[in-house]
Structures are given as structure tokens and as C-alpha cells.
Amino acid sequence: MIDIQNVNKWFGDFHVLKDASIRVAKGEVIVVCGPSGSGKSTLIKCVNGLEPFQEGTITVNGVSVGAPDTNLPELRSHIGMVFQNFELFPHMTAMQNICLSQLKVLGRSQSEARDRANTLLDRVGLSGLGLKYPSELSGGQQQRVAIARALAMDPIAMLFDEPTSALDPEMINEVLEVMQELARDDGMTMMVVTHEMGFARRVADRVIFMDEGEIVEDANTDDFFGTPRSDRAQLFLSKILQH
């Protein structure tokens, strides 16, 4: 489904992604973790072409992201993305946030888009909050609206870029639960950048550990938490799991 091969990316002189390769099969849930500045967020933004990369190839469902003749908006409309800071549109209600791209990209009618939005709001546990503006919602609620907004496009895969990092602790679970349901019930293909190791253990098929732009470890979840092979992954795990 998602095939990342030997991707290199530089920000100026800074080599942010070093020969990164990941393969995500249909229905697989991959968690990407690692210290901050390790290139995880940059890598996931390369998958839907929000960040350009200089070398290597990324294909999603057979379409090459980096190829100059690729219709990026068309490709992105099939890949959902959820951001660390939610990025709801503050001048629109939750309903309008969820409907915008259905109307403008998919060409659905107002009533179709609304029906879909209501179904999704219900699904993420926010029925009845469609007329609220983002500023009237809690962080956890905003992130769930953002997930509903991405799902409204009927994506074939979902990318999550640290979806709970900006949330107060008591709101983290409500977001993780929605993501877990998505993986279990829908069999959604998911690539999740997160530090939530509990979520990784419960939901992920594979865990990828990145450090300084390199993929240091790519292991099945059980193997990763059992005996990570690299020292760096062990050190990272010991730091974040000791609490």
C-alpha cells in the first residue's frame, strides 16, 4: 500500500532522512517512534507529498508521490492525515470542517456531505456538536473532529503525525480509542507517529524506531517490545517506559 524506498532528504545542509525504507501492507498498522528531531514527522509528511524529498521513491497504492506528473491533490484526497495541532479550520464549524473537502474535492451534494459528517461525528463520539466552532471544543474533541474530517474522504490509508502530543493527559485516551477502533473494526491501513507505547503494543503490527534520520529498527511489535536489537532503541524505550 505504502512503499518508501531509499528516501533521502536534506533541509539545506542538514540530512534529515537517511536512506529510509518502509513498506506498509494493506490493513497494517505501523507505529513510528523515536526521539524528537529524528525525522519521523518529516518522513510521514513525505508520504502524502507535503514535504518534498530529493532522493528515493515513495509510492502509495502504486502512485509515485515524488514523480513530477503525479496529481498530488488527487492522491492526497485518498490519504487521510491527522496533525499534532489538529489544524481544524477555526473560521468554520465542526460540520463545515468535515464537509469542505467532500463538497470541493469529491463533489458531493450538501445533504450527502452532511449525512456523512453526522455519521462520522456520531462515530467519534461527538454527535450533536456539529455546530460548534473549534475554539468551543476541547483538544480531544478537536482531534476527533479532525479524524472525522479525514475519514469523510473515505481514505485508503491514514497518516497520524503525533496525534496526542498536544493533548492534556486526560484527553489522550479518547483519541487513541477512536484510532484503535479504526484499526480493529475497519482494518484501516495506518502509519502513526507517536510516543504512546501502550497504543503501539496494543494496536500496531510493526514498530519502527528512528534516530537521527535513520530507520534503526523495523520489527514486529512483540519483538520490538521483547528484545529490541539496537542499543539506541533500548535506550529510548528505557527512557519512555520507566514511568
Partner: protein, 219 residues
């Protein structure tokens, strides 16, 4: 001395002055609308990342911001008829001059407005499959416009004052009408005091409203 003043001249000429004021307001409204649209296009050009468009935008802004408005008004009054090879009335030539000139200022306001919107907002739009133009139109520009509304209105108040410069091409705005009455009836002091009072009240209360709006937005 004070008994020599005849403030009745104002009352007698209100209908004529009101016609002038209507022209001032019309010119302000049309110029503001036109130059905000053109200024936004210039701002998008300056931020486009395409060298040629950036260059055109930058030259436009620097060119018009380096010229006195009075000169621009004169310029278009004499230039436009030559360019289109027919008579152009003073209102149209003034309007064109104002739009092109003020666009340089509105451009810089809209540019900082667009830059005030976080990159993540555009990313969210692109990630949903929206094109650049759609992302700008539905996500970035509405927010930029709203953030910049107080400054856009302040610039429009300045524009309203500047429309008085059309006096030099004989266009009968409020200022020109006031001058005409003052000279015809030899009541210079009364009329100029009145004109100053009208401009002051309108612009002062206009800027009070902007301040109020700003406070409301920051709440």
C-alpha cells in the same frame, strides 16, 4: 468680528455638499474594493515562490510606494485618455489611479495577513486534497482577511482622506464641492471649518470603531 461670520452658508449648501460627499464615499468604496482584490493578488504573487511573479509584485509595490499619490492622480488623468484614445472622465481615471496605487499598500497588509496563518493550516487543506487555489480561497485568505480587518479598515480611512486629492483634476468630491462653495460665496473660513469638522468626525469615529473591533477580536 465673530458677527461677520455667516454659518447659514453651510445650511444653504448642504444638498450640494452632500452630492460631493456621495462621490467621495463612492470613490472610496470602489477604490478600496478594487485595490483590496488587486492587493491580494499581488500579495499572492509575492508569496508564490515563482521568481517572475515575485519580481512583478515587488516592483509594483516599491514603484507605487515611492510616488506621491497626487502625481499618480495627475498621471492617470492625462495618461489614460492617451492610452485608450478617447475621452475618459475624471472619476474613472481617478478610480484607476487609486486602485493601482492603494493596491501596493493593501498588498503588504494582506501579505503579512497570509504569513500570520500557520503553515499547518495550508497543510491541512492540501492533505484533504484541496488545490492551492482552493486552500487559499477557503482556508488561508478568509483567516488572513479577518486577522487584518482592523488594519484594512484603517488603510481605508486613510484612503477616504486621500480622495480629497481629486481636487486637482476638478472632480466634484466633498472637498472640491466645499472649495467651490467657499469661493463662490466668499465664505472661506466657515466652509473650511465645516469641511474639517466633517472629515474629522467621520475619520475619528471610524478609527474608534476599528479600535472597538480590534478589542472584540482579541477577546
Amino acid at each position: 468680528m465673530l458677527t461677520d461670520f455667516d454659518f447659514g452658508v453651510i445650511a444653504r449648501n448642504i444638498p450640494y455638499l452632500w452630492e460631493g460627499m456621495q462621490l467621495s464615499l463612492l470613490l472610496t468604496g470602489l477604490s478600496a474594493a478594487g485595490s483590496i482584490v488587486l492587493g491580494t493578488i499581488l500579495a499572492l504573487m509575492r508569496l508564490s515562490g515563482i521568481a517572475l511573479l515575485q519580481w512583478i509584485g515587488a516592483v509594483w509595490v516599491n514603484f507605487f510606494r515611492s510616488l506621491p499619490l497626487l502625481l499618480v492622480i495627475f498621471w492617470f488623468y492625462f495618461l489614460v485618455p492617451v492610452l485608450v484614445q478617447q475621452q475618459v472622465d475624471a472619476f474613472q481615471s481617478a478610480l484607476i489611479g487609486f486602485v493601482l496605487f492603494e493596491a501596493a499598500y493593501y498588498c503588504e497588509i494582506m501579505r503579512s495577513g497570509i504569513l500570520s496563518i500557520s503553515r499547518g493550516q495550508a497543510w491541512a487543506g492540501y492533505a484533504l486534497g484541496l488545490r492551492y487555489s482552493q486552500t487559499m480561497r477557503y482556508i488561508v485568505l478568509p483567516q488572513a482577511f479577518r486577522n487584518m480587518l482592523p488594519i484594512l479598515l484603517t488603510q481605508t480611512i486613510i484612503l477616504f482622506q486621500d480622495t480629497s486629492l481629486v481636487f486637482v483634476v476638478g472632480l466634484a468630491d466633498f472637498m472640491t464641492s466645499a472649495v467651490n462653495v467657499a469661493q463662490r460665496d466668499s465664505r472661506l473660513i466657515e466652509i473650511y471649518v465645516f469641511a474639517a469638522f466633517v472629515y474629522f468626525v467621520m475619520c475619528y469615529f471610524g478609527s474608534l470603531y476599528v479600535k472597538h473591533l480590534q478589542q472584540k477580536m482579541h477577546r
